[in-house]
Amino acid sequence: MTEARLQPGGDGWIPTICSMCYNQCGVRVHRVNGVVVKVEGNPDTPYGMGRLCGKGVAAIMTLYDPHRLKKPLKRTNPQKGIGVDPQWEEITWDKALNIMVNKLSAIRKDDPRKLIIASSVAIPDGIRLDWQFGVAFGTCNRYISGASTHCGAGEHLLGYLKHASWNKFADYEHCNYLLLFGCNAGFSAYYSPTSMAQKCADARRRGMKLVVVDPICNTSAEKADEWVPIRVGTDAALALAMINVLLNELGVFDAAYLKHHTNAPYLVGEDGLYIRDKGSSLPLVWDNDSPKPYNDPTIEDFALEGRYQVDGQTCQPAFSRLKEHVRAYTPEEAAKITTVPAATIRRLAQEFGQAAQIGSKIFIQGEELPLRPAAVLYFSGAQGHKHSFLTSAALELLNAVVGACDVPGGVLGANALCLGHPTTGLPTYGPKEGPDGLMVADGWRGMRKPFPPGRASPPESFDLSELFPVGIGSSLPTVVTVADPQGWKIPYEAEAMIIVASNVLMSLGNPETVAEAFARIPFIVSFNLNLNETADALADLVLPDACFLEKLDIMHNRLLNSRLPTGEGEWALLVKQPVVPPPEGVRDVNEVVLELAERLGISGELNAVLNVWLRLRPPYTLDVNKRYTLAEIFDVYYRCLFGNEHSLEWFKEHGCIKWPKRLREVYWRPFIPVRTPIYFEHFISVGNEVREVTQRLGLEWDTVDYQALPDWRPCLAHEIKKDGFDFYAFYYKVAWHTFSWTQQNPWLDEVARQEAWSYRVLLNERVAQERGIKEGDPIWVESTEGFKVKGIATLSQAVHPEALAIAGNGGHWAPGLPGALGKGALGATLHPTNFQYMDFVSGNQDLCAKARVYKDKG
């Protein structure tokens, strides 16, 4: 960066990272006379490529929000709950930390698991010292609030299993046909939106066709060639019908890809499990009249179809199973479920299959690679439902049957393979061969890898992660189990909770239910910018956190496979640095956590954990007998990755290190001999194990979705029949708000007030008029469970007639957020927040509720 140089502590353009959402775009911030006057995109980094979304531009208003907390507060009213005056008393930091240390010391001595640490999906993951503090402290109860509400527990699970990555994109450089299901990837939300929007726009200009399947004509649909309105929560039925058309009507599939890169040829017995070689236990395939282990070098051709006898057992290749399985999903049957006409389903399948150009090749940089220029992407809208895993698997199989996986034109796992910086070879990670020849991903940003599957065991954590051996985890169970630990066989009760940058009442479900559950926790601390609903209702201590423009932080390389733009381009890691100091009385939570660790006598443990978490290698490891500042830890981290000359100071000056992506990193599929499942055989044994554990403990737990091939199954909302309740209410995101966090920002509020979605309830114009509802009418949305939310109607022809869409996480009531007060509605209010609205495989929350709508009479 040329002009973006800053004399330390002086004015100028300062490179740092935007944290108005989790995407971590590179920004440069103009500081004049010690005051931030502008935030703009940093063209020197691939994170945003110089582009910034509205939230990033508006960051300055969050920084200078006059309603930010400036002093630690202590509750003096022992009563807690929504609407209860906490009777705050201002106290010093020292007093606040003394209170914390006293409580936490006692808990650690007794049982450290009694501490819960709640973070947020909204804040970007740098060092996340609160997580590492939790590990060093010894608690297993750390979760990210909003994970399962806003996020893609099903999609990420399939991202790992099929693409070795947290998320994925179409290869916009070469894709010719993109099908989006409940997803705005490349348009607004999802990951790397600022960079991927440019790539996607370039692809559209080049001629890439775009079809969007969604109950509402969303941000991407309004720019698409075709919008396909679908009944809420039925995407899996459409996907399975399309696969049926491809396999059984058109005979379109990529046999070479399926044979060599998936488990499609593995023989499956009548019990649904692989037929295994007696000696090696490896799965068998059929080749030239005989069974052989899948990796037998003498195999000439893998059979994909047929029925065979092995040791007296009848079996067939997994692909045959899939083909037979999807026969039940005729376009006519799927039309009844989805409301998408059968002819449209056939046409979409035919267009997608044709666009994939199975068998075609492309030369890039002198390498001949398969070309499959068709892709299916999906996210919260499609998979934020009861059967999230099954839906994600069905959608993902569309890509798999045409071979459009991690090759030019198809779906690319986001930066799944990294061979490292040319000088150090770090960071390095990538897909590897695991059990049964199936892929194991390295560099995965989650703590728990979905494969090889973990083992189900009796609950020990409030999030019940022990009962999700293949899931990435969910925040929903904590609400249920904290209220009844004994009932869930958790051997202790929650004694304390530290909430960092999160507003759990607005991000976990019905606020009353969440407040009631968490009010049982005797000691709650909230670190935040503002006095939000959660702090007001539940916190005993509220501690003012610094804004991201006042913080020093690293960019963790675990995030390369979820934040760096996907496809050809550059690798890069940035630094977050303070542009201005925090106001007096405000402290960065990471600094506070270091001090807490020291006062609790666990700094050595924390250093040991950081050595592993940051993958520090000698000589760049932290000494467990020494104390470090944040700057010292970050310095070691960057030097470890990029050599001694790349110190923290170097990063602060340059803002970014980058190097070109290699072709093999971007299109790794042809180069790495691993298989991915089209048949999820191991889910059968995992499901059996979860069933055995839960039955033994007498826990009510549904394991029916642990199946090897996906089905469409109805959400609760589809099954409920109640007179007058004929809408499916659901929540969706807008690009100019980050969950429940940004409504307080006046510029973003102004944007939201000027358009017709953010603060409104969207419904079909004709249907609304039949009920006497006009544009701008105050209305009530009431779920069959008796939960109600008030909103303002906005009408459009471009909404499925059964859909009722509530944007974002509005409806704030905390006096500490005066700019957000009373604006919009909180869709999650409509849910009782229980396991009936959860996917038991991925933990994803079902965000659709059967509802009715009527005008507010008042």
Partner: protein, 102 residues
């Protein structure tokens, strides 16, 4: 034939899995990571085994083992703990939580 003394420190989420933060074990000189973990499994029982081993017998993804300062790959259980002639080894077993995240 000599012995290998292994000083094991448990870090992270060990409550409910082991009863003490440190333990001293005596193994054969050619002991592997698998031998160490199985010996700990025998000592601490099914709770330890369930938490540490994945279904296929490899390390659970949130368990990291550091032997003499170097991280052991989760599937590399055949890795020898000590070099020829070495009599003492330090091992750290980190059990992270399978944190809920999305």
């Amino acid at each position: 034939m000599g012995f290998l003394d292994v000083a094991v420190s448990f870090r992270g989420i060990t409550r409910g899995v082991v009863d003490a933060p440190q333990v001293q074990l005596r193994l054969s000189p050619d002991a592997t990571v698998a031998d160490l973990l199985h010996s700990l499994g025998d000592r601490y029982g099914p709770r330890f085994q369930e938490r540490v081993f994945a279904q296929d017998g490899s390390l659970q993804s949130y368990v990291t083992l550091v032997v003499n300062g170097a991280t052991v790959e989760g599937s590399d259980l055949g890795h020898r703990l000590a070099a020829e002639g070495q009599e003492q080894v330090e091992a750290q077993v980190f059990i992270f939580s399978a944190m809920a995240g999305g």
